[in-house]
Symmetry: C2
Subunit: 370 residues, 2 copies
């Protein structure tokens, strides 16, 4: 053998990856999408104050960002009434997921997630050689008691649980989560991905004591704050676990522009609330559009609506293709039975007008319902 | 034992980290620095076209960046006359170093670097449990033949070599590098960190065939392009090695704003040349300031000048402290004999005026030369 010697774990990884962005699809199609409603980005955009802060920071980006993320961490600590040492800021939840997996997971270590949940988590676990176990969804929702039971049985080091869930949009209540946590072993870390929690009903986020060493929660500026392209997320948890990120994180990894934008975005809670209100209206509108076309929208606590196309995965994939042919960038759950659905990001009225027309046209272009 | 179970490698890592940013020092001091000339940032700033592109992109940052970095990779490919599949874009060289180390290095694997070279590389190797071997500098320069001899002896998987070097500012010529590579084993990857190469004399970058699987070079928009805080770097090499990054990289890790800025910066080569010219003038001025104060500037092919304080590490550290007391943010090499020096980033005239006064005052405040 010649050439680089990859680690055994890396050598065993597939060369292809599941991440296809809308730009890639546009290049393949040879024309742009008319609506970008497939990646749960916030088409309502970031706060004007955040945009202003980022535009101002552009001329200062000759400086590295503060490696401690001091200002943002302290503003978040104030916002939540917790300690700054209970917070670590990173390059989006994607980046933080990678760090957490590298802290805990080595070759063969058991990790538990839901079958069809966030694929980037699985990608990070695979890169560490972890042994990933998938628990089925229950009634289109992640099943926390079953996840924890599986983790107990396998003595898993890490369990992934998103609340609200992506891609189904469903959620558990805070009290239900708290009681489900009782059997969680001390040495099993529950990763609570709350990327969409700002869109969820009051009480969806569990009131967790911060000294609980085996739960870490992650949130982001990518969704409700509308800054997916800036790459800012944060994790909250016990100070010991949070401090361990210092061992592996990219200390100068945060964009200075993103730091400034996130700080300004956090300071504009009024704008955040206006987005949440608009998203709620958009959810209702998408449900109406679905119903008008004979489809059923699932209840959602996120900034997207998952629409049950009423048949199997092949049919939903055909609907998706037909929507793409109508210049809609839309995605869908990968795994059955969720793959009977398509997933539509909330958007302002004019974008949903386009979707409304496109959905009717897409369905009309398909063979009649069996 | 209770609580999270870290991997054995992580559990063995020190909790403290060597990365202290200027903002941290300012918080500790309770007052800002008057000049930020310690981190080799480009105080000349980014191209106005890059600033404009980033400010424009701020309002579009609700969209994730293109995970393929298609436009930037293709622009770089055109710029260098190579294939886009020979380039991977990442979150600064720091991010790319981490990916490369994770591709190749597992617990106990031998890795070679210079004693006193870039600490972030060492940090990444430690996080993978690699066994890091340090080769002394020779005449204040990284010693490529000795690095490769050490790698052969240890059957190392990876060798780090920065050209030009940080923190000493020295460099090797392209032809010397090419001939030194002859004994590099096929299965040992040489990582050629060219973060500062735009500042170096013509011929410093070796003319490397791109099908050479065991050399990968990394470059950045943080130095000559003045965008350290935006986090854009890239690696160039054989397509097989480059493709392997897909297995571990954070596919949606790039800031959309940074992508836009880097593309515009690359397109403004005239501005880049003006920075290189100004940096050269600043290097000469810093050497004069050093000589005026009885110190000796080392020759530099970078955007900083390393100044030999003429005594031992304790004395240079005292000079550094005295400069900080004069409100100068300055750093110095960590490891002897380089630690007899301090390191000054190039800067526009008014900043160097401040440094000139501060250096004289700092030296005057120290006990007389022994």
């Amino acid at each position: 053998m010649t050439g680089p010697r990859y680690t055994p774990t890396v050598a065993a990884l597939p060369a292809s990856v599941p991440f296809v962005g809308p730009e890639t699809l546009e290049r393949q199609r040879g024309r742009p999408f008319a609506a970008r409603i497939g990646a749960n980005e916030s088409i309502f955009g970031p706060s004007p104050k955040a945009i202003h802060a980022m535009a101002q920071a552009a001329s200062e980006c000759w400086m590295y960002g503060d490696p401690e993320n001091y200002d943002l961490r302290h503003a978040l600590a104030m916002h939540y009434g917790i300690g700054a040492d209970n917070i670590v800021v990173g390059e989006g939840i994607d980046g933080l997921l990678g760090y957490l997996v590298r802290l805990l997971v080595g070759p063969g270590d058991a990790v538990v997630t839901s079958d069809g949940a966030y694929p980037t988590f699985n990608f990070h676990v695979a890169a560490q050689g972890g042994s990933l176990h998938r628990v089925p969804y229950s009634n289109d929702a992640e099943d926390l008691p079953a996840l924890i039971a599986c983790a107990r049985e396998l003595d898993a080091k890490l369990v992934y649980f998103a609340n609200p869930d992506n891609p189904m949009g469903t959620w558990a209540s805070g009290p239900d989560i708290l009681s489900a946590l009782d059997p969680l072993p001390d040495q099993t870390v529950l990763l609570l991905d709350e990327a969409y929690v700002e869109f969820a009903p009051e009480g969806t986020a569990p009131a967790l004591p911060l000294d609980r060493e085996n739960v870490i929660r992650m949130r982001t500026f990518s969704k409700a704050y509308g800054m997916a392209g800036a790459r800012v997320g944060y994790a909250m948890g016990a100070s010991g676990l949070i401090r361990s990120f210092e061992k592996v994180r990219n200390h100068f990894g945060m964009s200075r522009i993103a730091q400034a934008g996130a700080l300004a975005a956090l300071g504009d809670q009024e704008y955040l609330q206006s987005v949440v209100t608009q998203v709620d209206a958009a959810r209702k509108r998408i449900a109406v559009i679905a119903a008008d076309n004979g489809l059923r929208a699932l209840p959602s606590a996120t900034n997207f609506v998952t629409i049950d196309c009423g048949q199997d995965g092949d049919y939903a994939r055909a609907v998706l293709q037909a929507l793409q042919a109508q210049d809609m960038f839309v995605r869908m759950p990968f795994v059955a039975p969720g793959d009977r659905c398509i997933r539509i990001s909330c958007a302002p009225g004019p974008v949903l007008d386009l979707f409304e027309r496109a959905l009717a046209a897409a369905l009309a272009a398909l063979p009649a319902k069996r």
